[in-house]
């Protein structure tokens, strides 16, 4: 009898130890884009803090949908683009305000921090801090398309069957700029915006026969550019620079009507369980040497102040080659997207996809 009770005590202690062991292994559930949590940085973070990072890859739309479904639960940290935060926050309340006192703001480029703070301000409180930035523009295979300089070339019959872009809002915005319009100025006027989108949609349908495919996944696009199936695509600068490293013929081109500038951020979901770990990860990722490691791997610009000295020469060369001053000045930064515009754009994109 006594033996039995001793055993059971041992068992209980053992269970308790295992159980608390599980509790001790802290976790950070991160909802982010592909490439934003490189394995080596995740491992380094774990060594430093003991926190395991559980990464889920997604995109802007799916991030919002996922957090909306749970009213902001299930993840400790998300990385939406800065223009997709304020209206979503007003409608669905899926984020919590960010506490800037817990952020090491010396590590962040001041102008970018300020811009994101302003753009994600809801009820007088900021909801995000910047992580990285980049632009959308053209990725061109110079061997076959040496003269492609603007988004309008995406509709050009000359590149018949060799064009690829995403059926997503950046394409609509880009084509509107190429048509000489300023879609951002029409954000506030639903009617004008709808009329503009209809016009862009019609042009896209007319040029649909020249399209090879509407790409949906970055890897698939890289593969079709690499294999020479696509000569001209609308994509992110990082994707173009990745390809440039493999094949010097392919490069990113900042379009004449302006590359579209985005900033991806850190935002904390409303019902995050491990907020402390979220702040730790933010500060860790923006530390100059870590931010530089990310940029060296993924080629996207960083919001980290002082990361420049750690960048590879080839990465710095990318920016210098593709973004001389006049192109930088011409970048069109996304302002926050008001509600309702998404359904107008969605309908236009549906029409384009359905057209025969």
């Amino acid at each position: 009898m006594r033996k039995k009770s001793i055993y059971s005590v041992i068992l209980i202690v053992a269970f308790w130890a295992v159980g608390s062991g599980i509790v001790l292994a802290e976790e950070l559930a991160l909802l982010t884009w592909k490439g934003y949590a490189p394995v080596n940085l995740v491992e380094k973070f774990q060594k430093e803090t003991g926190i395991t990072v559980k990464v889920t890859y997604s995109n802007n739309e799916e991030m919002i949908a996922k957090l909306r479904a749970t009213r902001g639960a299930g993840f400790d940290l998300a990385q939406p683009s800065q223009d997709r935060i304020s209206s979503v926050q007003q409608q669905f309340k899926i984020y919590q305000p960010i506490d800037l006192s817990k952020i090491d703001s010396k590590q962040i480029i001041p102008s970018m921090l300020e811009a994101v703070k302003q753009n994600t301000m809801v009820d007088g409180k900021p909801h995000a801090v910047p992580f990285c930035w980049g632009t959308s523009g053209l990725v061109v295979n110079r061997k076959f398309a040496p003269n492609a300089t603007d988004y309008s070339d995406l509709l050009n019959a000359f590149y018949n069957g060799r064009i690829s872009y995403r059926l997503k809002r950046p394409t609509l915005i880009a084509l509107a700029f190429a048509a000489g319009e300023n879609p951002f100025a029409k954000y506030s006027n639903e009617k004008d915006y709808e009329e503009l989108m209809n016009r862009i949609g019609t042009a896209m349908i007319a040029a649909k026969p020249f399209v090879k495919s509407y790409w949906t996944n970055g890897d698939a696009l890289l593969e079709s550019m690499r294999s020479g199936e696509v000569h001209l695509a609308m994509a992110w600068d990082g994707a173009g620079w990745k390809l440039h490293a493999e094949d010097p013929n392919i490069d990113f081109v900042a379009p004449r009507s302006g590359a579209l500038g985005w900033i991806d951020t850190f935002a904390i979901p409303a019902k995050a369980k491990n907020v402390k770990a979220a702040y730790k990860w933010i500060n860790f990722m923006l530390r100059p040497e870590n931010a530089a490691a990310f940029t060296n791997a993924e080629k996207y610009g960083t919001a980290s102040n002082g990361a420049n000295q750690y960048l590879d020469a080839s990465v710095r060369a990318n920016f210098e080659r593709c973004f001389p001053m006049r192109h930088i000045a011409n970048i069109k930064w996304y302002p926050p997207v008001p509600a309702k515009l998404e359904s107008i754009e969605g309908k236009t994109l549906d029409k384009v996809k359905a057209a025969q």
Binding site: E61, K168, E342, S343, E345, A354, A355
Partner: protein
């Protein structure tokens, strides 16, 4: 008395075992469905406030792209179902009637084999084979049959082939079980009486296998109609499938109300099509399910 007690205990036992299933069904399937149904009848105006309306359903009938997409999806699904049947019947007949019984199990396992990997992997396999710089083009160029690589991916025909491939199994299995009960002597007698292949097929095999054909067709039709992956990945630029429309409403447009309305329309309209199919072939759902 004793018997009654046993009955009671049985009932409690049954209840105990059914509770998890019941909870699962109600909490994870019935309640969310009801939530979606309610959502589909509401329209959001601006920030957070919403009202009852049939607007979401009206949208489907008033916007040609929506119902045209549905019609397209339904027509292609019927076509896929028919093609699957045409491909599956000889296979099922071969396995049940022609091949030596010893190999029957082996052949069935061979049919099952591709289904041990996920649909996504299978579709990517097809993409590697069919793309412009893919395996098939490579060989055709090597053999000199082609001068220029041809894009075989991103076409409706490719998508239909992919869908037929994906749903083959669900047609073959019911056909095998239907054909197993067919008496070989009927076919032999028909031959003795001078019937040819065609009349044997139409007068003996198909009538006998009808319940299997119908149940297989229902499964294949519903699976194809509700497929998202294959049309999306293999179909390319023109292949707007109705499920993708639902996805777009939920994810891209943030319009969950419209998305759920589409979801219920898909459920309702596909049920109508199945019901019509049963009526046209004069089949009884109860008999088919058996």
């Amino acid at each position: 008395m004793d018997k009654n007690g046993m009955h009671d205990r049985l009932r409690w036992g049954l209840l105990l075992f059914l509770t998890p299933v019941f909870l699962w069904l109600v909490l994870l399937i019935v309640l969310p469905q009801i939530d979606l149904l309610i959502m589909s009848f509401r329209v959001e105006s601006g920030y957070g406030d919403s009202s009852w309306s049939l607007y979401n359903y009206r949208q489907f009938f008033e916007e040609p792209i929506y119902w045209l997409t549905f019609v397209r999806t339904a027509v292609y699904s019927v076509l896929v179902t028919f093609l699957t049947f045409v491909v599956a019947l000889p296979v099922a007949f071969y396995i049940t009637k022609v091949v030596h019984p010893r190999f029957q199990g082996f052949l069935t396992v061979l049919l099952l084999l591709p289904f041990w990997v996920s649909e996504l992997v299978r579709v990517y396999g097809w993409m590697i084979l069919l793309r412009e710089s893919g395996v098939i083009n490579h060989f055709l160029l090597r053999m000199g049959l082609l001068q220029q690589p041809v894009e075989m991916l991103y076409q409706d025909a490719t998508m239909i082939m992919g869908l037929v491939y994906t749903s083959m199994l669900f047609m073959v299995v019911p056909l095998i079980s239907a054909l197993e009960s067919l008496d070989n002597s009927l076919i032999e007698a028909a031959y003795d009486l001078g019937a040819n292949m065609g009349s044997i097929l139409y007068k003996i095999i198909i009538p006998h296998a009808t319940p299997g054909i119908v149940s297989g067709s229902i499964v294949v039709f519903m699976l194809t109609l509700g497929n998202y992956l294959t049309p999306n990945l293999m179909g390319g630029k023109n292949s707007l499938w109705f499920t993708e429309q639902i996805y777009n409403q939920f994810i891209a447009s943030f319009n969950w109300n419209q998305g759920s309305a589409f979801g219920f329309l898909l459920l309702f309209l596909s049920s109508v099509i199945v019901w019509l199919g049963l009526k046209l072939t004069r089949q009884n759902l109860r008999k088919v399910v058996q």
